[in-house]
């Protein structure tokens, strides 16, 4: 029995290493998931903000009316950016899209002028778009309002379940991570139980015993998070190399938040479960340790 105490005191260091590694592994997976969740949101936002609404103008409206309409549209909260497309610009765009010029066939330009605008992502849903369309069509200068309904439907159908699915999965995953980390750390603390008891037997206070282990836990938690972040950075840059389009979705703001979250989760879980298991062993009777 005496031997148990001896060897376990010796093993306490490598098991710290294992717990750092274990914690950083789960944090790494969590971090990568977080990055994917951010990208999924960015991707849906990216698609949504590329939906274009075209407001076609009647022929022969006064420039005053067209300026008024442009003003009206520009001031709408749902407009992200807009462009006034003159008849001539419409023709050039038409040809630019690879269509044949009609100059030889027709005298007049049949394409109407339009105001094209892109929407802010939060306004891209079927009801809102219908309301916007209705509102604009009431304007006397407007002949027609068009937007790619089928594309909108597709975006809404495909993007929504992904984001929600991600959220649910992320929550479940976080809980699993917490349990895993808790177990890893408790295992590491298990080998410290004789050390804890020894300190207690000689009259060390709980605070004195717990303090250095808590400090260690904060350091270990931070180390794990940093290791995990290095891994996430590595994997993300590897993926960006494979799929260059991903670079367009880069968002330093959210990435910083992700880093901070991993750091906080790492330190917090490490500290709480270390402290909990120290207290557990402090409360235990010596006989129960074997």
């Amino acid at each position: 029995m005496a031997q148990t105490g001896k060897s376990s005191a010796k093993r306490s260091k490598p098991s710290y290493f294992m717990s750092i590694l274990g914690v950083s592994l789960v944090l790494f997976i969590l971090g990568f998931w977080g990055w994917m969740a951010i990208n999924a949101n960015k991707l849906s936002q990216y698609f949504k903000e590329n939906v274009e609404v075209r407001v076609y103008l009647r022929e022969n409206i006064t420039s005053r009316d067209s300026v008024a309409l442009t003003q009206y549209i520009a001031n709408k909260p749902y407009v992200k950016e807009y462009e006034y497309v003159t008849k001539d610009l419409a023709r050039r765009k038409f040809i630019g899209d690879g269509n044949e010029d009609w100059k030889n066939v027709l005298d007049a330009n049949p394409l109407p002028a339009s105001i094209d605008f892109k929407l802010r992502s939060e306004y891209v849903n079927s009801d809102t778009l219908a309301t916007i369309k209705k509102d604009l069509e009431q304007n006397i200068s407007v002949s027609d309002v068009q937007y790619p309904q089928s594309l909108v439907d597709k975006i809404l159908k495909n993007m929504k379940p992904i984001s929600l699915g991600f959220l649910i999965a992320a929550i479940i995953f976080t809980i699993v991570v917490i349990i895993l980390i808790d177990n890893t750390i408790r295992l590491a603390m298990f080998s410290n139980r004789f050390l804890i008891k020894t300190m207690q037997m000689v009259g060390a206070t709980r605070w004195f015993i717990a303090k250095p282990m808590d400090i260690r836990a904060v350091i270990n938690g931070a180390l794990s998070a940093i290791l995990a972040l290095i891994g996430v950075f590595g994997l993300v840059s590897f993926m960006e190399k494979q799929i260059p389009e991903l670079k367009a979705l880069r968002d330093p703001y959210w990435f910083t938040i992700l880093c901070i979250c991993l750091l906080v989760i790492g330190i917090f879980i490490s500290l709480v479960s270390t402290h909990r298991s120290v207290i557990k062993y402090l409360k235990m009777k010596l006989d129960d340790l074997y």
Partner: protein, 228 residues
């Protein structure tokens, strides 16, 4: 406090819900050496645990080195233990550091700060147990008897008035047991430290006779009052 180091009256000692010892009345005076004997499972360790605050005293009254056992809680136990020395088999040295560091660790844990005073104290207790020059040895480089001496040195660090020893010679050969017993008696005599020692070793008792308490049938009997 007078000279009474331990005073237990009408105490019932429980392990969980089981009554292990009933109506315990024990008084130990300054500088007294007391054996605690009895068959396996009769409650020797339980009595010692009550004395060092590992078991709550639920019924009866008890005072140990001036601490009221009835008022013991996890906040006060550390301060009780600083006034005790505890020696027993399961309570080993830390193997990842040498003897000096083992002892220094205990001093730090009990509130010592001054390096020089700590070094002096360590030299002092090692001298007392006859290990003056062995401070730099690792525990695994020492014999069982030497390790037991270090345990005793550790118990002496905070100059306790009472040492509680649970089978300190249990693992040792007769010669080494002899050395340890001589050391304990020397500490008891020369520093006025009271010692309560649980043991199964009747050879030791006959060689170094002293007052003896016996746990039997749920009671503690004292050969100072009745013959056993």
């Amino acid at each position: 406090m007078s000279d009474k180091i331990v005073e237990i009256t009408n105490a019932n000692i429980y392990q969980g819900d089981n009554l292990v010892l009933e109506d315990v009345n024990v008084t130990v005076n300054k500088g007294e050496f007391v054996y605690l004997v009895g068959k396996t499972g009769t409650g020797k360790s339980s009595l010692l645990k009550t004395l060092y605050g590992d078991l709550q005293l639920k019924q009866g009254t008890g005072t140990v080195v001036g601490f009221n056992l009835k008022e013991m809680d996890w906040k006060k136990v550390p301060f009780l233990r600083r006034n005790l020395g505890v020696v027993f088999q399961d309570f080993q040295l830390l193997t990842d550091r040498n003897v000096n560091d083992n002892l220094k660790f205990v001093l730090r844990a009990t509130g010592w700060k001054d390096e020089k005073l700590m070094d002096e104290k360590i030299a002092d207790v090692l001298d007392k147990v006859g290990l003056k020059s062995k401070g730099f040895k690792m525990p695994f480089e020492m014999s069982g008897g030497e390790q037991q001496r270090v345990d005793i040195a550790r118990a002496l660090l905070n100059s306790p008035k009472l040492i509680l020893a649970d089978e300190p010679t249990g693992n040792l050969d007769p010669e080494t047991s002899d050395e340890i017993m001589q050391l304990l008696f020397h500490i008891c005599r020369d520093y006025g430290t009271a010692i309560i020692m649980a043991t199964h070793d009747y050879i030791v008792i006959s060689k170094y006779p002293a007052r003896t308490l016996k746990t039997e049938r749920g009671r503690v009997e004292d050969n100072a009052t009745i013959s056993i």
